[in-house]
Symmetry: D2
Subunit: 134 residues, 4 copies
């Protein structure tokens, strides 16, 4: 299993008139968490794109338990529980500064070769890095 | 069944470096569609809030089939297939101007009484309006 | 002079905890207005990009008079008062459904040739279209 | 003079199809910087709101020099050069990880008493904190 985490502070502009962090921000938070975790594991997503790959999102799933508020410091935990193939599944949990679970979710992403525009196995250098965890 | 639809033009700022409409915009598009459809059926969500209710989102689900691009004119179709109780389930389909299905999704929302902060049945006037469809 | 206008409905996710349409949304609204006005005048910005040009923003200026609220229907008026050269200046006024001025602003954009990455006069076909107005 | 700084990593969803960090994100980055700097100086903006004040933005001004890209680590420097009265002026400079100036800007904010809805001097406790710097 591969896991990591990142911290995100809720911006004022990310709240809505209910006073909550808008539900539509979490896909962005999940992406930032994914991105931070990739970078830490030694293979940034930016690198992956430079090597001719991109990773569109195929599905998104969020279960909201509690709202976050302005200025809350959210911890997003990311888990990759299965060795990536053409697809890579990420699971997420968001916690506030009091350790309360705000929401949990999942995204499935797909490796796409930019030249062919077709789904593809991840590049070798990425497989070497990520396969250590499985 | 209750259904409706709305049209949304993809803004430049809603695209990402892949050239696609960012996957994280669809929760916002779904919300706009919900909002437009509520208004048309004679009970705006703004009205509902003025009457002491709010509707936080409990779960979100999106399956992405094809990307949208800058300046695309997206049609979002919204379906409510079950009579709302404390919860209200919306289903969505996004199509581009060529009639291609971009993604489909679902959100479950909950009626909350602002005073008590507790889940609650929707207000009577709303039940009267919406129950005609079921 | 060249002018046009577009209408934008404030999304729930575009409000903030103050209950206002977040100040940071207006650059996005201005862009949408610019985009709609380009399209109407017979030369979409998408077209311009396909022809090898892009138009980064050089400066932005907004004076906020009154807030907009959720579900408000905003009219954005766009004015181009000077014939475009390498630069193109747009002025904006946002009004709510009661005709109240919400804010006014200005953006200066630059034509950039994608191949050279350098500022450039707009392409001939665009000059022909736009110069009719001056 | 009062100054501070914060760091922001550009999210994928904050880029646009040009590959740049969208120009409309900077008002959000400026707000985050303002917010972080308030918190550090011992008076969070959240605190200010709990004390019955809010600070709508009156004007915004940005001069864009260079674009930021996905995953760039931006440093936002914030300067308050004049003792706040009913209004408070913030100046900003954004730098990328190579120390290149990306843009500079200014926002003027106004203290508003939530009860009266009128512009007002900042609360005493805030004046005590901020006046040390002038």
């Amino acid at each position: 299993m591969f896991c990591g985490q990142t911290q995100i502070r809720v911006r004022y502009g990310e709240t809505d008139k209910m006073g909550y962090c808008y539900y539509g921000n979490y896909p962005l938070y999940y992406e930032q968490a994914r991105s931070d975790v990739f970078r830490e594991c030694g293979c940034s997503y930016a690198e992956l794109e430079k090597n001719g790959f991109m990773m569109p999102v195929i599905s998104l799933n969020i279960n909201y338990k509690k709202p976050a508020f302005y200025d809350d410091l959210i911890t997003v935990k990311v888990y990759v529980k299965q060795k990536p193939t053409v697809r890579m599944t990420f699971e997420y949990e968001c916690f506030n500064q009091n350790g309360e679970l705000l929401n949990s979710g999942e995204t499935v992403l797909c490796f796409v070769n930019k030249k062919t525009g077709k789904p593809s196995m991840p590049p070798d250098f990425f497989q070497e890095i990520i396969n250590k965890y499985f």
